[in-house]
C-alpha cells in the first residue's frame, strides 16, 4: 500500500463531457471529499456501472454530475429515500449518498435517522460545512453556537447537531468523521464505510470559506484548513483530554463499527426462505 492514487486516476472517473473546473468555490473542501470517494471506489475495485451516487441539493449535490457513475441528483434532503428505493430494488449496487449538513440534518433529518434505524445498505457522506452555501450563507443545523451567518447576524443562539452522535443514536452500523484536510484518513474511513454491511455514515468536515469562513474570522480558505489541522483530533486522543483540552477541538475517526446485516440482506433472505417454503 501507501502508493499515492493520484489525480491521474481520478481523472479517469470524471465525466469528460462536463466542464471543469467544477462550480464550487476556490478552496471548497467538497472537491477533496469527492477525490477521496473516487479513490476509495478505485481501491475497492468497484465497477463504474455498479456504483450509484445519489445526491441531495446544495453545494454537495452539485458533485454528482461530475463523476462517471450512475448519478441521481434528487430533491433537497431526500437523497436517502431515493437511495433506499434503489438499494432495495437492486441490492448488488453500491449506493452512496452525498449530502450536505442542511440537506441531511435539517430538511432531511427524518430520512437520515430512519435510514440509520432500518440499517439500509447505503453509505452516506455528510459534507458538513456548517452553513447553507449555495443559497448564500444562512445558518444550518450544524452552525456552531455563537457563530455568524446571514440569518444569524448577531450570533447563532441555537446549538448545532453532533452528526456522528445523532447517527450513532439512530442505530447506524458504521459511523465515522473525517475532514477535508485529512484526505488520506478520509480514504481509509470511506473504504471501511463502503465495505460495511448496513447503513454507514461518514461525516466530512469540509470548510466553506466563501459563506462561513468570511463571516467568522477566517481570512482565507487556507486558514480554515489550518484550523482543521489544529482542532481535529483522533478520537482516541480526544477521549484522553480533559474538558479544557477538548474545548475548541473535535474528534475524528471511527465512532461506531458494527456488523448487523443490512435491511436489503434481511429482506432478500426472507424472500428466499418463503420461496423454499412454497416449493
Amino acid at each position: 500500500m501507501s502508493e499515492v492514487i493520484g489525480n491521474h486516476i481520478i481523472h479517469k472517473y470524471l465525466r469528460h463531457n462536463k466542464k471543469f473546473p467544477h462550480v464550487l468555490c476556490p478552496g471548497c473542501g467538497h472537491g477533496i471529499a469527492l477525490g477521496a470517494l473516487i479513490r476509495s471506489v478505485h481501491c475497492l475495485g468497484l465497477e463504474k456501472d455498479d456504483v450509484v451516487i445519489v445526491a441531495g441539493i446544495g453545494c454537495s449535490g452539485r458533485l454528482a454530475v461530475y463523476v462517471d457513475f450512475n448519478t441521481v441528483h434528487t430533491t433537497h434532503g431526500r437523497a436517502l429515500t431515493f437511495a433506499t428505493g434503489i438499494k432495495m430494488a437492486k441490492p448488488h449496487l453500491k449506493v452512496i449518498c452525498l449530502m450536505g449538513d442542511g440537506d441531511a440534518l435539517s430538511i432531511g433529518g427524518n430520512h437520515l435517522i430512519h435510514a440509520a434505524r432500518r440499517n439500509i445498505g447505503i453509505t452516506a457522506l455528510v459534507l458538513n460545512n456548517n452553513i447553507y452555501g449555495m443559497t448564500g450563507g444562512q445558518c444550518s443545523p450544524t452552525t456552531p453556537h455563537g457563530s455568524f451567518s446571514m440569518t444569524s447576524p448577531y450570533g447563532q443562539l441555537e446549538k448545532g447537531f453532533d452528526v456522528a452522535e445523532l447517527a450513532r443514536a439512530a442505530g447506524a452500523n458504521f459511523v465515522a468523521r473525517g475532514t477535508s484536510f485529512h484526505a488520506q484518513q478520509l480514504d481509509k474511513l470511506l473504504i471501511q464505510a463502503l465495505q460495511h454491511p448496513g447503513f454507514s455514515m461518514v461525516e466530512v468536515v469540509s470548510p466553506c470559506h466563501t459563506q462561513y469562513g468570511r463571516k467568522n474570522k477566517f481570512k482565507g480558505a487556507v486558514d480554515m484548513y489550518k484550523w482543521l489541522k489544529k482542532s481535529a483530533t483522533p478520537v482516541e486522543r480526544y477521549a484522553e483530554l480533559d474538558e479544557t483540552g477538548q474545548k475548541d477541538r473535535f474528534p475524528i475517526g471511527v465512532f461506531v463499527d458494527n456488523d448487523a446485516p443490512g435491511l436489503e440482506e434481511q429482506y432478500y433472505a426472507l424472500k428466499e426462505k418463503m420461496r423454499g417454503r412454497k416449493s
Binding site: S2, V4, G6, N7, H8, I10, H11, L14, F20, P21, H22, L24, C25, P26, G27, C28, G29, H30, G31, I32, G35, A36, S180, F181, A183, Q184, G220, A221, V222, Y225, K226
Partner: protein, 73 residues
C-alpha cells in the same frame, strides 16, 4: 510515502486551478507558489519529496505528481 528529492514531476493544470492556495500553504518543501494571476505554479520541482499532499488536497483535481521516468541504466 515520502521519497528522495529530485525524482518527482509536478504537473499543474492552470485551466483547472482556482488559486485557493492550499497546495502552496501546506507543501512541506515549498515547491509551489502562486503566480501573478493567482494560479499555482511549480517553482522548485527538484525539492519535491513526493508526499502527495498537494495532489490529494487539490479541490479541483488540477495537480498530478508523478515519478520522473528515466531510461533504465
Amino acid at each position: 510515502m515520502a521519497k528522495e528529492k529530485g525524482n518527482s514531476k509536478v504537473t499543474i493544470y492552470p485551466d483547472w486551478c482556482k488559486g485557493c492556495g492550499i497546495c502552496v500553504a501546506f507543501c512541506p518543501a515549498k515547491v509551489i507558489e502562486l503566480d501573478g494571476q493567482g494560479k499555482a505554479r511549480v517553482v522548485r520541482e527538484e525539492d519535491c519529496i513526493h508526499c502527495g499532499f498537494c495532489e490529494l488536497h487539490c479541490p479541483d483535481f488540477a495537480i498530478v505528481v508523478t515519478e520522473i521516468e528515466r531510461c533504465p541504466k
